[in-house]
Subunit: 424 residues, 4 copies
């Protein structure tokens, strides 16, 4: 199924009057409304190929219908999203779930939907059918050099697929760790992992980056070998200039101040990528912005401040990606909500009066500093986000149009009610 | 120092045009704007007498200046707040910090500022000069009946003071608990506490309520004898119809779902009062709404839904109070920010389309349910809150006016730069 | 495969001299060593039928070999455990994973291994093949009465199976809850759940109990409808005398004081059952005693104190069960380690000098109270636990004998390397 | 008051027979008992000067009696401890609470008690009487260079005091941080702090070390400028070879794996010092080993393994110190319990069969690895710790002797019942 430009135009026509009024009303109070709209237009969030199907927990998975059955259908799904919001113009592939059979065909298909290939993702946290050695006790940390080599070789393979598709980065998430005291020698696990990462690093093309993702716990429940930003930064620093830390919002201990981590990683020039989702307890992988929207705003506020401070390009110099699990919602609707929440937080962050904030900070005027941040957060920026969509030919209300067009039932009709997309 | 009606009028005149425009713009989209404004007008939050001075931590206290030196000045401070926002029309006293010498004079003074006396607070977590027995090992839980009796008698005293002032409720927060395994027999501590509370309960006037506050930890660091809502509800149920649970936002374990607790306590008819503040780690006692404003909204959403379901009066049937510690901010500015955040959350909760939400819930339409809640939260309701202030003769921007009038420097001039208000 | 008495005798003969020496040395210092040994002999922990296979996380499952392929083989596995330690004399079945085809045959088989049937477990957190209605949005809480009825009927079925096997209790763990704000009306979810539980309760035989298990989060990540002990107690109180709360060690928010919960539930006469495991982050389901052995001891200390206070029988009046997930270890070895840790904690709890502790508590002698508890905990009670095994014909070192006999390779030979037991 | 050698000898005589029996029994099973005893003899834990008085929380402080009124009496108190256990042979001073008036006299006094001067501690988290500039908004992070300079100068002063006393290290704990979003620019706070630390570093004598302590939260409740080990390591790395990270057990987010942090810091050659205490919720500062003794053992296990791996001297190459708050217990008894718990954990760690553990790890034998660790932990090593005391002329049971001698009543007689030691 494809969404037609006319369908969008028709939808927008109905909502346009109200949108115009609201945008104009808001613009009266915001001198830089136009600048913000332009930045929103430019901002793109990659969609991971595994987020297009129903996710689950260890207790079960309640499949929806019409899930994509192969890479082509995954690309089509992201094409639908991008048609609706014009902010999801990239796909992040996961190997081995998405190995392309014909690179050229896949590239062509993606370009038809105006999609580029974002970071490639490797998988050494599961055993694949026919795999020689098991990752039960880790991959890059493994006590057995042969297992480490298998994991390294897999990552090098992933890079090769990525080169063919035009990707420029590799995200390495390692589930490596331990579930019981004594299971691991922490130091040797670190050193094995470092050595493995160095071998992958050596295979990186000149213009590629490698993102070392950290996670506090799960699926290991005692220690994780890349467990926090401090460990990730140690690896990235030892690896070299092409290595960066990747922050996933759900991968922290309770109460962690993620925005401070973001600021410090930017200070060190070592923040590379970002995985959006939301959570209350652990790596809950809920819709971005559904639980802690103020934290999301504060993080974006640091991202904007820190990137601007280094003269970084918001749209290119960090890898932005959603990484969630859609257990209860229609995955495509969930992704539309997530992208919307990200754009709202980004717009709010762009609204922050930086000069006034710096002044308040310099005067230790804590009350004023809070007023400045909360003014930006409390402002209803949805008309700005919608305006960006309007100008790019996206739908004013993507979720509403998705439903009006009956996209899901159409997909079920095309693909069946019992398809199961690869993923978790 | 008093704030003059003319000073407020002048301030409002300058901001009125913009306020009118914004309110009208918002009202275009909100059919029930007027109803909400009226509810905001009626909503009053009590200010605790101990929150008017600088707070501290065990590591130190950095006093500000111009703090109230006695009960009269505390009332005057709340009078200032109420003049500025017309939403702080009650004071919550703490005994022995605020024992009135002349009830009639204090009542008259309060009524001059249009203030009523909210819940009375007892203190059995500190030893007062000349106190016969120590609370080092607890008060109502104490192994020694004489200590328990002292604590009971103190609470009965507090009730007597309250009767004289026109208060109708007693809040009992017990620091009782233990810091080490083995220190307490949990069951006996519970039973001693229950027996003590029953003695206090017996002394309650017919039209009074007693609020049993719970707290997960601090100042005891192993167990607390009224440690969570389950324990508080057990006490309140065993005590009788006049006993209720009081929820303080900062008194939970990490990640607790407070809004669900609120809903269930309302269901049981046992929610009695509410202490507002915000926190990231523990009982941080920060400005309400400064850390987790979405959670605050969700809690208000349950409060509104649950109270309406029982036909409760939003303004009278629960005790609303701020309970924060102002370590870094001017206490009065902090309180103005807190009240503003509370009113914003309340307004957003009133905005929720309940019928649509119920419909979405009945259809398990999770996406739609989220859209409905977030629509209310994302709406910039500040013009509604300001409108309520405008109509009651309060300042359109209380913090701004507080600063323009130089209230704090005036207070320092009147009271001195080194005064220290009673409190923590 | 069966373990022969002679194999055990031979194993014990080799270790007996050392065991005798250690036991006698310890008994010199412990006047009540014999009493404790007898209580250890009597103590039995039920093994859940689903814990005999490899567990997993949502990221994957790394199967071992020789897993039981049916109920008969599960019973055989527990028979092996019981032969090795004589402390695992009960099985807890899970329906629909363990529906017996021939009750009499199953009963006979179990009795051959000297096993009884502990609490029955229902499953309304997954959809079974061919199930009419989905539990995607809950079961007993569901907005649709038909789904609730399906869940109720299933539980009544489970009771019927249990009656045939001689079980006397039903454990209800509900995954019901929500992952997003707004998804549920908490009050209606509670009331629907209560109504459903009441229907199940009505079908309980006179001499049965129902255990209402609570859990803070997972698989739902915003709210859980039986989320904490307070909620469970509310349900159990409203249901009636046959309803109890069940505590699972991994089902709490971070830092919860579980031992206090245990004490209070015993005080209320509402503690019904216990699920053992251990965890660092959430419901990690690790080997009991592998992460927080002191907490396990403190919990047992409350269990012993609280049961003795009510004159309860340690062996019969609470349901004891392991509930863990064996992702990395051989499930049978893991279970042997768990039972050992439970018996150690129980023995330590029995060692506590209750009179001295009460005296220290009455004197607020915190230092002494800690010394008393830690003396019990620091004592090496393994000779007591081993002595209990020796006297019942179990192996002095069950894990060691399990390995010496090559039990796992034997099971793989009999059942194959790729079997997968039903479970998570 | 001093404790006489004869008093100790008499006490030991009474307990010696039992001790000898238990030690011999244990030594039968432990080939390296003698080596362990010798290491226990050599191990010394520094006592902070502020831990000798009653501590408190922000809610109050319940003083005991006989607290030391000056530095001389603090030294005398530690002298008492050291006489009792011969394991507390160092004092860690806090400036300005402990500024010596006569260095030579203080040195002589300390040497009479056989005490050395461990790390010096600075204080820039409180305002001292007469201090020119306030630390309300931080010290080394402060936006105002003059405040930063004041903090730097204070630290240089502290070094000077330390030089006079023979100390060789400076511990810098900064309370710097923020309580509200927006209050700080995280990057500038970091850079200001780094610059300040560099100025202090420049003043360090050649043979000194500086320890950069981190803490997750409190007294600031939103961010801390040296908030976790990653940040501390960044500072220490940028400062140079004399800079190290200091780990305080209570300064982490919930569920943190501290033992892994210890291992990695040792790997990097950047672990400098250790503060012992215990906690359940935050920086509760409870008696070491009173809440999570297994975690303490696991940490010691990593300390021993990691130090041995680098050929470090257990007694000299790390700074060992207790840092607790004695709110409920007699401070001296509490410290005796803490030292005992530390020695027990150290002895258990020395018991671990490293070769077997490495073998189990190399084989991914998780069950065996756990058995090895838990065997060491479950062994009752108290006879080893007591033996070390016996051989050094310390008391076999220090707490018991402390009580038998009536030390506290003697101190109250000498110093009065209402003294208050400097500290928190």
């Amino acid at each position: 199924m494809n969404i037609d430009k006319n369908q969008i135009a028709e939808h927008n026509q109905q909502l346009e009057a109200v949108q115009n009024r609201r945008f104009n009303q808001l613009a009266e109070d915001l001198p830089n409304a136009e600048t913000i709209v332009q930045k929103l237009v430019d901002f793109q969030v990659a969609i991971p190929s595994w987020a297009l199907g129903t996710g689950g927990t260890r207790f079960g998975r309640f499949s929806g219908g019409g899930e994509p059955r192969n890479l082509e259908e995954k690309i089509a799904d992201i094409g639908l999203l991008h048609a609706l919001n014009r902010s999801s113009g990239a796909i992040s592939l996961h190997i081995p779930w998405d190995i392309p059979e014909d690179y050229a065909a896949i590239r062509t298909l993606a370009s038809q939907y105006d999609l580029s290939f974002d970071a490639m993702n490797s998988n050494t946290f599961q055993d694949q059918q026919g795999q020689a050695l098991s990752y039960k006790f880790g991959s890059m940390q493994h006590v057995d050099k042969a297992v480490r080599k298998q994991a390294v070789d897999h990552n090098i393979d992933v890079i090769k697929h990525g080169i063919e598709l035009g990707s420029k980065s590799l995200t390495v998430w390692l589930a490596d760790g331990s579930s019981f005291p004594g299971q691991l020698n922490f130091r040797r696990a670190f050193q094995n992992t470092l050595e493995s990462l160095q071998e992958v690093y050596a295979a990186l093309p000149e213009d590629w980056k490698i993102f070392v993702e950290y996670k506090a716990f799960e699926p290991n429940f005692y220690s994780t070998t890349v467990g926090d930003w401090g460990q990730s930064l140690l690896y990235a620093s030892k690896l070299g200039d092409k290595a960066y830390t990747l922050v996933d919002l759900g991968h922290h201990l309770p109460n962690a101040n993620i925005e401070q981590i973001v600021s410090l990683l930017l200070m060190e020039g070592k923040l590379g990528g970002f995985h959006f989702n939301d959570s209350k307890y652990g790596d809950d992988d809920l819709t971005t912005g559904s639980i802690k929207p103020y934290q999301l705003f504060l993080i974006f506020s640091e991202l904007v401040e820190g990137m601007d401070n280094r003269g970084m390009d918001h749209t290119k110099d960090l890898g932005w990606m959603i990484d969630a699990s859609h257990n209860l919602k229609d995955p495509l609707e969930d992704l539309l909500q997530s992208v919307e929440a990200i754009l709202i937080a980004y717009a709010q962050a762009l609204l922050v009066d930086r000069a006034a904030l710096t002044e308040a900070q310099s005067a230790n005027d804590v009350v004023r500093a809070q007023e400045i941040l909360q003014h930006a957060f409390r402002t209803d920026v949805r008309p700005l986000v919608a305006e960006a969509r309007k100008r790019t030919g996206a739908a004013l209300n993507p979720v509403q149009l998705f439903r009006e067009l009956g996209v899901r039932s159409q997909l079920i009709k095309e693909r069946g009610a019992k398809t199961v997309a690869t993923g978790l």
